[in-house]
């Protein structure tokens, strides 16, 4: 009688949540949306150009590669610079100095807010409030106070990303099991030693993850600042050529920015796994 249960005729299909693609399917699926996008672009662009050969909105793929070639591999007749690379250099210097400064600020304040009750009482509500200020609204003030140079752009990015990073790190410190701090105290650790050997190494992986999540906002603030006042940079170029409706330059620039951000994102994650191998054991 009981065996009947195992010999039911109806074949029940597997739940959707349990059906997984094979490795090959996975790669195919991963590439599909990208290919689809390029193909769709190709068709739409061809259709528009067939209508009106002077159309500038969706340039042909050939026009795009020509533009890339011009920007990346031929010196600009006016300045003699290879514009894509000089723009990239200018933007990355701003972006990475701002992210570096934000990381240091977040590490310091995140740790003291997370570890020291007095500092927490003093600064946690303040940082929470500051993080609500929309940074772009501050941009005019920054330009007036700090001038139109690099300082105001870097400051904008720092103001945009640091408060969120501080709050995230402070939370991570508070999330560390209480048992760990107690244990470290019974091993004779002072506040400083516990900060250095117990808390710091455990928040560093989170700091890297936090940095990855802030890449998007950081690029946003960078391009906004460059768009408004600059004489070089990827954002500057996009907003400059916009006047001439040069989509053949804007599209590759957008792609290039996306690629840079994606590579940074990936590299930071690899870095975390390489430097803190234990942080990946936990996640399984």
């Amino acid at each position: 009688m009981a065996l009947k249960i195992f010999t039911t005729k109806r074949h029940k299909p597997m739940r959707w949540i349990n059906t997984k693609p094979t490795r090959a399917t996975q790669i195919a699926l991963m590439l599909a949306p990208f290919v689809l996008l390029i193909v769709a672009y190709g068709f739409t662009s061809a259709a528009r150009l067939a209508d009106n050969p002077a159309d500038k909105l969706l340039p042909a793929l050939q026009t795009l590669t020509d533009a890339v070639n011009r920007m990346a591999f031929q010196p600009d007749p006016r300045t003699g610079e290879y514009l894509l690379w000089s723009d990239t250099g200018a933007s990355l210097v701003r972006l990475f100095s701002a992210l570096g400064i934000s990381t240091l600020i977040a590490l310091f304040f995140g740790m003291v807010i997370g570890m020291l009750p007095y500092v927490r009482a003093l600064l946690a509500p303040f940082v929470a409030t500051i993080s609500m200020v929309p940074p772009l609204a501050l941009l005019p003030i920054l330009f007036i106070v700090l001038g139109l140079g690099e300082t105001s752009k870097i400051t904008l990015i720092v103001i945009g990303v640091a408060p969120a990073m501080i709050r995230d790190l402070a939370l991570k410190v508070l999330e560390l099991p209480r048992e760990q701090t107690i244990k470290a105290e019974t091993l004779g650790g002072s506040s400083w030693q516990i900060a250095l050997r117990v808390v710091l190494p455990q928040v560093l992986p989170r700091l890297i993850t936090c940095l990855r999540l802030q890449l998007g906002p950081a690029w946003l603030f960078l391009i906004a600042a460059e768009a408004i006042s600059s004489d070089s940079g990827l954002g500057y170029r996009i907003f400059l050529v916009r006047r001439y409706l040069s989509m053949d330059i804007i599209f590759p620039y957008v792609l290039w920015i996306t690629l840079l951000a994606a590579i940074t994102n990936f590299a930071l994650d690899r870095l975390r796994i390489a430097v803190f191998p234990w942080s990946n054991l936990e996640a399984r």
């Binding site: 099991p177 091993l187 650790g189 030693q193 234990w278």
Partner: protein, 275 residues
């Protein structure tokens, strides 16, 4: 010497009374097993001995000196979970106590000092049976191995008192029996006074020299806030177990070996002695 004396200790959290008027003297080198129903304040009691919580009333003294309300290196601890550091290897975990002691600023050891500390740590790691796993991270160890590691990590400080909060509660019976043997050996060989919270009566009577029970005499829901748990049973194990001395009555593989006593094939009760 490490005698712990509690004099009329109360503990309240806000309006809730958790422990009432606990007076107790724990002799040096005793192995006290603390039992009681869930929520009766066993962990709270341990926290007070640890210094994580201060008593609301009353004093606790260790060797006649009142405890300060802060954990310190004279009292080691092993919790049920989170007792080891996930970002350090087995060796790193055991070394940490030494490092804290020797290197106040850099919190790192170098050269000969580091080698000496490593030698000492390796001995302890071997003692708890973790040799071969020195370079593994806790996430790569089983639950039983993690608790052994936690023991080694605590013992490198040579604490006077070792506090255990259901340290073996999550282990399966086989592993637990193994770690009991280890625990007994460590207690015999080191200068430790042990207080262990457990839910397992068998464990309490296998390891302890004295079993203490907390209980709420009034446990109706409306009374729960106003009345705390009291010390309801205090049983000295008989025949007495004495640290470092073999028991002639129930020699088992846990105790130091002596010539007389039962042979290997005799059915010796494994420490389950009725008081």
């Amino acid at each position: 010497m490490s005698e712990i004396v509690l004099d009329k200790v109360w503990k309240e959290y806000g309006d809730q009374i958790v422990l009432e008027k606990i007076s107790l003297t724990i002799a040096s080198r005793a192995f006290v097993a603390l039992v009681g129903p869930s929520g009766c304040g066993k962990t709270t009691f341990l926290k007070m001995l640890l210094g994580e919580e201060a008593p609301s009333q009353g004093v606790i003294t260790l060797d006649g000196v009142p405890l300060i309300a802060e954990p310190g290196p004279d009292r080691g601890v092993v919790f049920q979970r989170y007792s080891v550091f996930p970002h350090l290897t087995v060796l790193g975990n055991v070394l940490l106590g030494k490092v804290f002691k020797r290197s106040p600023m850099a919190a790192r050891l170098f050269g000969a000092e580091r080698r000496a500390a490593i030698d000492e740590a390796m001995m302890l790691i071997a003692e708890v049976g973790l040799n071969g796993s020195e370079t593994k991270y806790p996430a790569q160890l089983s639950g039983g191995m993690q608790q052994r590691l936690a023991l080694a990590q605590a013992l490198i400080m040579k604490p006077k008192v070792l506090l255990l909060d259901e340290p073996f509660g999550a282990l399966d019976p086989g592993i637990r029996a193994e770690i009991h043997v280890l625990m007994k050996r460590l207690w015999h060989e080191t200068e430790l006074t042990v207080v262990m919270v457990t839910h397992d009566m068998r464990e309490a009577f296998t390891l302890g020299t004295r079993v203490i029970a907390f209980e709420r005499p009034r446990d109706r829901p409306e009374e729960r806030e106003r009345y705390g748990a009291v010390l309801s049973r205090d049983i000295d194990i008989w025949p007495p177990r004495i640290a470092g001395e073999p028991s002639i009555f129930a020699p088992d593989r846990d105790d130091p070996v002596i010539a007389l006593g039962l042979g290997q094939d005799d059915l010796a009760p494994q420490g389950d002695i009725v008081p």
